[in-house]
Amino acid sequence: MPLSAETLRDLHRRMLRIRLFEEEAGRLSEAGRIPGALHLYVGEEAVAAGVAAHLGPGDQVTSTHRGHGHLVAVGGDFRQMFAELFGRATGYCRGKGGSMHIADMDLGMLGANGIVGGGPPIAVGAAFSNKYRKTQNVTACFFGDGASNEGSFHEAANMAGLYRLPLIFVCENNGFGEFTRQDRHQAIRDIADRAAGYGFPGIVVDGMDAVAVYEAAGEAIARARRGEGPTLLECKTYRFFDHVGVRGMGVVYRSDDEVRAWRERDPITLLERRLAELGILDEAGAAAVREAIQAEVREAVAFAEASPFPDPAALTEDVYAS
């Protein structure tokens, strides 16, 4: 069944929100206005958007160090996000977490994670909780190709399969763990193959094609909600920016040609082309969407920069629940 115009517009909007948030965050980071390290999601938007479009109240997401995209995709608030990146008291984590720990517990976004492989075991716990509480909720666990080599991923996958948990493992295979190409960090090509070892389906999908991700994620999530257990959805994608920041650290580990070739399959351009062909959104329409989001970005950055830093007294607050 072809996707509705509304669904396609929704996917486009989610992706563009991620793109414009990340591009601005990258600019601010390069300009030294945002402290610390940013791992940007540019290029991989179709994955977060295609999965998040199926999630609703009560569902959860576990994220990675490259987490902004996941939070934007599930409806993260730009103001609180930028304020967090700036280390301000008005940020999502009151300035204590920053980019690598950004979270929105109300949206079920259980946190970006500074530990590669930190997310999958937590996703098992959230999915266990969904089942335990007899909800219809699911957990989406985003993780990278590099993370698929951590023991924690394998332990989590085994448990999820064993307990038939309402969980989908979403592998963002962008071809690299940091600066190490996939064929130098694992002896397999398709990470989806790993699912077989844990007794659930593994599916490979074009991670630059938002519609393909949306459709595959829809099936996997429906299956999970029916109580039929997890699915591993491997999305082949690419990060357009460097591992950290935009321009990276000045060492060549991939060619400009390679980056260019992937950029030709920019997931947003691909979707916009499709939307135009279907007569759903023309160039002017896309530009209007873009301008509206840009305005929101500008407003959020201004809010963040005008926000106060946390009071030093906050330093030892919230170590424990009171």
Partner: protein, 333 residues
Amino acid sequence: MTAATAQRQLPTVMAINEALRQLMREDPNVFLAGEDVALYGSVFGFSRGLLDEFGPERVVDTPISEAALVGLGVGAAATGLRPIIDIMFMDFMGVAMDQLVNQAAKMRYMFGGKARLPLTIHTMAGAGLNLAAQHSQSLEAWFCHVPGLKVVMASGPYEAKGLLIAAVRDESPVIVINHKALLGLAGPVPEEMYEIPLGQAAVVRPGTNFTIIATGRMVHESLAAAEQLREHGIDAEVIDPRSLVPLDTETLVASLRKTHRALVVHEAVRFGGFGAEIAAQLQEAAFDHLDAPIGRVGAPFSPVPFSPALEAHYVPNADRIAGEVLRLLGRAA
């Protein structure tokens, strides 16, 4: 910074690089394994050029699999090799704790002395770069509490090279901790190989009436504090233990007998930190010489915060150290 006979200046990152290179030239059984240490030369840059010289058999990029990475070192060490295992950030030791604490540390003892583990774990600790709670910790106290592991902390390029060489030549597992904020710090480093013997503290700044014992980056903050304290008529001696296990208690006690007052400074959380062990040992050994309680400066009891506004209050600095010295002396800061 001690034994500074050499004039050549090297930043810490290059001192580590030189030590690795010389160790690998010296002994074909020495190899380096870690995440992005080969082709990329480590995210901190300390292994640049090693792949070219020694090839992929000896400079090994591994998957992101810290448990297996440390295990690779344990198994290789137990069978005759001399591994150097790099754990990119000390925080990631959490992923490999079993291999470190239950396997590497105990194998020799459990096997009645029949195993030999010349294993070096190299890692990067420390806060100050706005990298937040999972990339900024100083966790040395965890490992000091485990019999079977040795633990050293470098405070600069001279120490980084000398400690690494001593660690790799040692026959037991040694954890070598560098501080990421010190990698660019330059100082005199001899070109030839030299060891800083494990268990030998350095008096970094001689003094007469107060002892400050500091590790890692806090050595520099303590030196700055000592300068501030001069204006108050305090001539502080600053000592860098360099090696925590084994600990050179003798040098520390000798200083205390002379100055009668001491403060221990580390970047790690104060509560349960290694400073408590040093303070306890000092009072056991030299109680009669004490004119004041032994003080401790460390981080507050919280994870490392992201916001620069909070992190600045989190990491101890010269002002706080000097203030604590004055407080111990009953003077207002």
